[in-house]
Symmetry: C2
Subunit: 277 residues, 2 copies
C-alpha cells in the first residue's frame, strides 16, 4: 500500500528529482500493534533534514495522518516515508517553484529470527568505504550507492550485517544500522559529523546512556578499538538492538550493558519529544 | 517524449531502486541535426559504469536504437538515458533476480546564448564540497545531492557555473562540467580517481591534446593553480567548450588553446570508438 502525495498509487513521475538525482530523503518506521513507533522523532528528523537539504518540509500533521492511517492496516509492519524535492528543473538547479513529493508506503515486517536479538549476530567488515562530506553527514538521504555496494559484497546468510569504514579507515556504522561498543562500562560510537546516518534508535540509546549515568565517547573509532571491545551491538528502528557475537573470526559475548539497552529501548516511552516541538 | 523499457510513458514504479536509493546512473547526449553526438562513447561509458556498480548493462544495440529513434524527432535536442538497477529488493540488498530499468528521454536543447561559447562565462567557487570515494569516482551515477546543493548556492544569472572543490580543498570540476586550464601551453585538469565525473567531452579534449602533442598534467589542482592560469575552460556533452572569462572577481582572457580545443571538438569525427569495441 502506497500513498503518493496522499493518493493511493504505485507510480511516480519519471522527472521526479528523487529519481533523477537522488534528491530527497527517507524514514523507516516500525509499526507495532498498528502503532508507528517513535513517530514524532521520525517526523522531526525528516523535517530538520529537509531543511538541511533546502527541501520544503511536508506538513507534519498531514504526514502524521497518512502514516497513522496506513499503520492502522497492520499489526506488525514497516512504514517508509520518502520526501523528494519534487518534479522538474533543468539540470541540478531546482525550479523556482517546486512541490515536494511525499511517498508513504507500508511493508511487511522483515522476518528476522528472534535469535538475532537474543543470541546476537555475525558481522563482517565491508571493503566499500563511506565518503566524507559534512554537508550530507547524518542525513538519511537518498544517495545510497555506498550502502548498496557494501551490501552486495556478501551473500552468506550466516552474516547479518556489514560494518563500514570511512575513506580514512575509521569505523562508522553498519550498512543499515548504527554501531555501538562497550569498553570498561563506557559506551562508544562513531561521531557522525562527516558521514553516516544519525539514526533515531541511536539517539534513544545515547539518551538512555545519559539518563543512567553511563559515560559516552562519541568520536573516531578504529577497527582495533572495535575488536578489543567488551560488548558490541548494532541498532536501527526496525530491528531494535542486535548484539554482535562475531566479527569476521573474532567472538564476543553478549554483555550486560547490551541487555540493559535492549530492555530500556523496549520499555522506552517517548514523552520528551512533543514537549520539545 | 520518454521511453521506459521501450514503452512510451512518463511514470516509473515507486519501488524502482533508482528512486529508493539513487541506485543507477545516467548519460546526457547532445542531438544535432537529428543525430546523437558521440553516441558510441556514451553507450560504452554507460556499460562500463554499470559494470562498476554491478548493474547488468542494458543491451547496447537496443539502447542505441531507442536513442536514435528519439533523436529522429528532433533537430537540436538533448537525450538523457537513465539506467537503474531495477525494481525491488528489501533494503540495500539487491534481489537475486532483477531487471534493470532503462529510461530514455528527449528534451529541448537549453537556450544558452552564443556569447557563452564565443566570449566566455563567469564562474564562482561553491562552498559545497565533493566527498571522496574511489568506488564511485568518475561514474555519472544518480547520487547527485552534492551537485544539487552546490547549484542551489547562487541565483545570479550572470554566473553560469560553479567550481567545486573536494573535501580536502582540491579543485575538481564544475557542478555540471569538467574543468581544464592552460599554463605555459600545457593542459591541466583534476584527476578523477577519488571523485568527479569522467565526462565524454573531457575524454575527447584529452585525446585531442595527445594527438596534437600538448603536454597534459592530470593531478591535484589547487585554487591558486586555477587563479594563476593563462586560460581556463569548462566542457560537457551539451555545451561543448565554454571559455571561463571570470572567476569571482578575477578576469581571464579567452586564449588560443581554448579556441583550438573548441575547433577540434567541433570538427571531431568519432572514428576510433567502434574499432575499440
Amino acid at each position: 500500500m502506497v500513498l503518493i502525495n496522499g493518493e493511493s498509487k504505485e507510480q511516480i513521475e519519471v522527472f521526479d528529482r528523487g529519481l533523477q538525482y537522488g534528491d530527497g530523503l527517507f524514514e523507516t518506521i516500525a509499526v507495532k500493534s498498528g502503532k508507528p513507533q517513535f513517530l514524532d522523532r521520525h517526523l522531526q528528523r525528516l523535517s530538520a533534514d529537509c531543511s538541511r537539504l533546502l527541501i520544503r518540509p511536508p506538513d507534519t500533521k498531514l504526514l502524521e495522518n497518512e502514516v497513522v492511517g496506513l499503520a492502522n492496516h497492520a499489526d506488525l509492519a514497516v512504514i517508509k516515508i520518502i520526501v523528494t524535492r519534487g518534479v522538474g528543473g533543468r539540470g541540478y538547479r531546482q525550479p523556482d517553484v517546486v512541490n515536494p513529493t511525499r511517498i508513504v508506503s507500508l511493508h511487511p515486517f522483515p522476518d528476522y529470527p528472534d535469535t538475532y536479538q537474543q543470541q546476537g549476530i555475525h558481522v563482517r567488515f565491508c571493503s566499500t568505504r563511506l565518503g566524507l562530506n559534512p554537508a550530507l553527514a547524518g542525513i538519511k538521504h537518498l544517495n545510497r550507492l555506498e550502502q548498496v555496494l557494501a551490501r552486495a559484497e556478501w551473500n552468506d546468510p550466516a552474516i547479518q550485517e556489514g560494518i563500514m569504514l570511512d575513506i580514512d579507515g575509521s569505523v562508522v556504522e553498519g550498512t543499515m544500522t548504527n554501531l555501538f561498543f562497550v569498553k570498561n562500562e563506557s559506551l562508544y560510537t562513531a561521531s557522525l559529523d562527516k558521514t553516516g546516518v544519525a539514526g533515531i534508535t541511536r539517539g534513544i540509546v545515547l539518551e538512555q546512556a545519559i539518563l543512567h549515568g553511563i559515560k559516552i565517547f562519541e568520536g573516531r573509532v578504529s577497527q582495533d578499538d572495535l575488536l578489543s571491545a567488551d560488548e558490541l551491538f548494532v541498532c536501527n528502528s526496525v530491528i531494535g538492538i542486535w548484539p554482535v557475537r562475531q566479527i569476521e573470526h573474532q567472538q564476543f559475548s553478549v554483555g550486560p550493558l547490551t541487555r540493559q539497552f535492549q530492555h530500556w529501548l523496549e520499555h522506552f516511552e517517548d514523552k520528551s519529544v512533543r514537549n520539545e516541538q
